[in-house]
Subunit: 614 residues, 2 copies
Amino acid sequence: MIGGYAGKILRIDLSRSKILFENLDYQLARRFIGGEGYAAAIMFGEVGPDTGPFDPENRLIFMTGPLTGSTVPCGNKLTVVSRSPLTGIWGEALFSASMGVDLKRAGFDGIVIQGRSESPVYVSINDAKVQINNAERLWGKDIFATFDAIREKSDNGTTMVCIGPAGEKLVKIACIVSDEGRVAGRTGMGAVAGSKNLKAIAVRGTGKIGVADESRLKKIREDAIKTALPNTKAFRDNGTAAGVLAFEKTGNLPLKNWTRGTFPEAAKIDGATMTQTILVKRKACFACPIACGRHVKVAGSPYAMEGPGPEYETMAALGSLCMNSNLESIAKANDICNRLGIDTLSAGGAIAFAMECHEHGLIADSAGVDLEWGNPDAIVKMVELIGKREGLGATLGEGVLSAAHIIGGGSERFAIHAKGLSFPMHNPRKFKSMGVAYATSNRGACHNRGSPFMNERGMLSPELPWNRSYDGLSTEEKGRMTKVYQDVCCAMDSVGVCKFFVFWGRVPLKFLSDSYSAVTGWDMSFDELLRAGERIWLTQRSFNVRMGATQEDDTLPKRFLEESVDEGPVRGQIVELEQMLGEYYRERGLDAVGKPRKEKLFELGLDSVASVLY
Amino acid sequence: MIGGYAGKILRIDLSRSKILFENLDYQLARRFIGGEGYAAAIMFGEVGPDTGPFDPENRLIFMTGPLTGSTVPCGNKLTVVSRSPLTGIWGEALFSASMGVDLKRAGFDGIVIQGRSESPVYVSINDAKVQINNAERLWGKDIFATFDAIREKSDNGTTMVCIGPAGEKLVKIACIVSDEGRVAGRTGMGAVAGSKNLKAIAVRGTGKIGVADESRLKKIREDAIKTALPNTKAFRDNGTAAGVLAFEKTGNLPLKNWTRGTFPEAAKIDGATMTQTILVKRKACFACPIACGRHVKVAGSPYAMEGPGPEYETMAALGSLCMNSNLESIAKANDICNRLGIDTLSAGGAIAFAMECHEHGLIADSAGVDLEWGNPDAIVKMVELIGKREGLGATLGEGVLSAAHIIGGGSERFAIHAKGLSFPMHNPRKFKSMGVAYATSNRGACHNRGSPFMNERGMLSPELPWNRSYDGLSTEEKGRMTKVYQDVCCAMDSVGVCKFFVFWGRVPLKFLSDSYSAVTGWDMSFDELLRAGERIWLTQRSFNVRMGATQEDDTLPKRFLEESVDEGPVRGQIVELEQMLGEYYRERGLDAVGKPRKEKLFELGLDSVASVLY
């Protein structure tokens, strides 16, 4: 038996209200694994440069991995893929939505959505019964109200994802949210759903997800959990934001739109403080032994709220990046982002950008919002305006790069992004490898599509070619390291296991190929899996090349290439990108203009990709 | 000698601050004439689907025709061409800017701008001396203030074009304005300039524009003026808005976003009323004997202004389309559009759309503006918000199609557009041929890129294959007629002569080829010129095909295909598009998906276009 895979792809054409069941291509599945890998093969074949992100013919793909729902620890990932309206290139966001597990139980590995409905709809899947339903009455509703309304009409146990008002209004940083409050945040996937008039997907699946070798899987599961649990205790205790204070001490925490080196108030927004003040309970995703999720409550303040609490990236983006140390305001702003459906990272990046523009007198009208650094009210108000596409928020919701073009006045120098995606919350001046990772990630600046700083943090993997850790401040090996870690991440995202569990849990990477082998019954070595990761990465890169991306786009803001901060642990550090990038290009098999070399494509069996590029 | 052509193209790369003089390709010029024709050949060769409208590598082309500045009557046209950010396809706008004449006198047929400057610049051309100048101090200034500031630093006799704050902020309906107040309005050319950080172009030319056969030209000029003057007297007297009242009587005037059939208050916004109330003086473009231009002044009202007055399209768009009969408010709103730099047609279309959304309860927050039909204050306030990209204006400035996607709630049915460009102010229910013209125009809904209603209005041309006028309400011959008139318009725009003079002046069309022959010394028959028009049209169409346009885009809003008005002269009339379109496709040589047939391309010598499409 082939375990892990459901064996069917659901294809929905919203223009023609057509629903098709297609067979999963198992040969493709072995080569592209699943998740973002399988989706990359579909995207490269079906979406060319003449299909704009908001064109009906753009695809919006929801794809599980073969380990999603398999009971492998943290095998819970669902990937959303499309051509991004924010960046114009490869768009992708990953989340631990239970809907992915239910989709598999209903018999589908993924959903490919194309076309545009004439009026708002939501898709419901109840095992093999698939329907396109009127969603006029849901349009305009916030995320959680939408779930409540659909839940009322659905069988017990239905799981869901949806967009909020921001996605409906095509805000370019709009996200897709699951009913547990997990978020597919980056690259504007919510806006693509909005452009298709697709409000939500609700799934109830009651079938079984096959596993080829249950007893082998049981052993793998037990070993992995035993290794990971002690290493992730801090995250269970205090959430992913557990690292805020430590990151400030080491120079990793982003401050004042990346212009400062110390933040004496960091402790106020550290995960431990959250535990002591507003935490109500911990929350775990499907099959997760860690439970880094937070449920928080703020009462009796202007920031009253109850719901999912901020994780590290959010805490930094809406906090230290904007010099805001008011924890309750961050919880409130996070809640508004969740309800309206916008990416907290991009929102924080945009607000920090706006605050710096304000400091330089470039924002004439901020609709009564005082954009002083650190003003918690400004952050809460601005996320609302972004989500509602109103006032200055309409500009910021275009993303920092477009917003800079709109605001002008040289504000592009405050737009901290790669390929149009604003930075995540790890400092490439502290971990130089992350400079290469941000500059070359296929979806724009990303710390999760290549996490070479795991080596710089001293977390070694016996499967990888380094038996020592390299200093974060040195450039040695960083080009090669980035290439390899990108391949690892492509593989890990495609099988559908949480990176957090594996990396921070210090689980040997062979866990991935062993689990894959046990679940599918196909014997796959770690090397073959890594090779698949390389194949996936290059397919995504080739997608971007077709969209016009070149080596000129593999860069970082001047703020990192030429400027530094004058205090703290990374004082004076810049990112020596050029020298690392040369090594990276060689290792990766890219030519001088950044195009994958023909020989490299042939070597990986990507002949059809080569025939399009050459 | 080759008269008419200057013989050089100026190419400016703003990314690299490079200025190049290229030779005009005379062989290309003979086949593509000049203006939008020559620009189409450049665009097809240099801008593919992987170059987005705001990408630095998009081209912004300013191109004159061979008759521009030649002293042929109304030989004064300058065309602006780019990939449109409003529609994603062929973008183009034509105006009678004296800067075009000066450009020729300076020795250039056109300017091709590429790249993006890091900070705001303006280009100055003083005969052969071409400079890229810092424009930091001009950025943010309104249109007329910009001209004043540049004029102060320039030699006497310098003519200019520039963008306003709207173009700087990438408002998608931003225009480019000349220092006489003439406007290249449609398809967002101002936003492309803004995306390149290009504020203005200032030109002083002192050379002579060659004419091969002066005495032949003199005779042609005298005959044409003698014919045209009596036929255009109404426009000299009362401007192009002279037709408002008559159009209301015949059913041509757009009313209440195309949902009404009569407007008792039409006389209040008729050109004759303008003459009697706010007209200060008449204004003529270069070499024009008509002087349809208006200079108006409103004193002592909330709408106080002085400057260029509204022409017909503006009067209808900001007037009857929104049920606004307050002439002074239209003059004021027009003035704001001119100063901030937005297209009055698109602005009026967007405001009418917003008013209809408001009527249906779809606009929650209009920032205190009462969007009741006909409210003059709302129109004045909304054009300001659009131009400044603020509040609801930020949404409307995206154009009606995107605005409908943002506002949602089924509002797409109120978005009256073709290919994303909102309708001009002539009713296709009254002139059925215009339905075909709007649906198939290469730049989206346009009455000037194909004006078959000239036949329906009883204005026959002996050079064209119809010796009688066809009823506007019938569909007979309308497919073929649209095809032929599109070719005529391509030819007329490319030589650089004003359509208004030729069509409404009832000047025989042979005037175009005769003038071209006299000026260039190349003997060109009207048939060869028409053939060039067909070649130009198909090159533009092929450009759009590359961008992903198909037969599905050759359509009209349901409001015209299925709905009508229940009163007035066109009561019950719809546009029977499908039957006319079949005939059109056959005549035009398009296949079932709307792609130019290979044989047709070969027939016109467009082998290189065919090799890209096939």
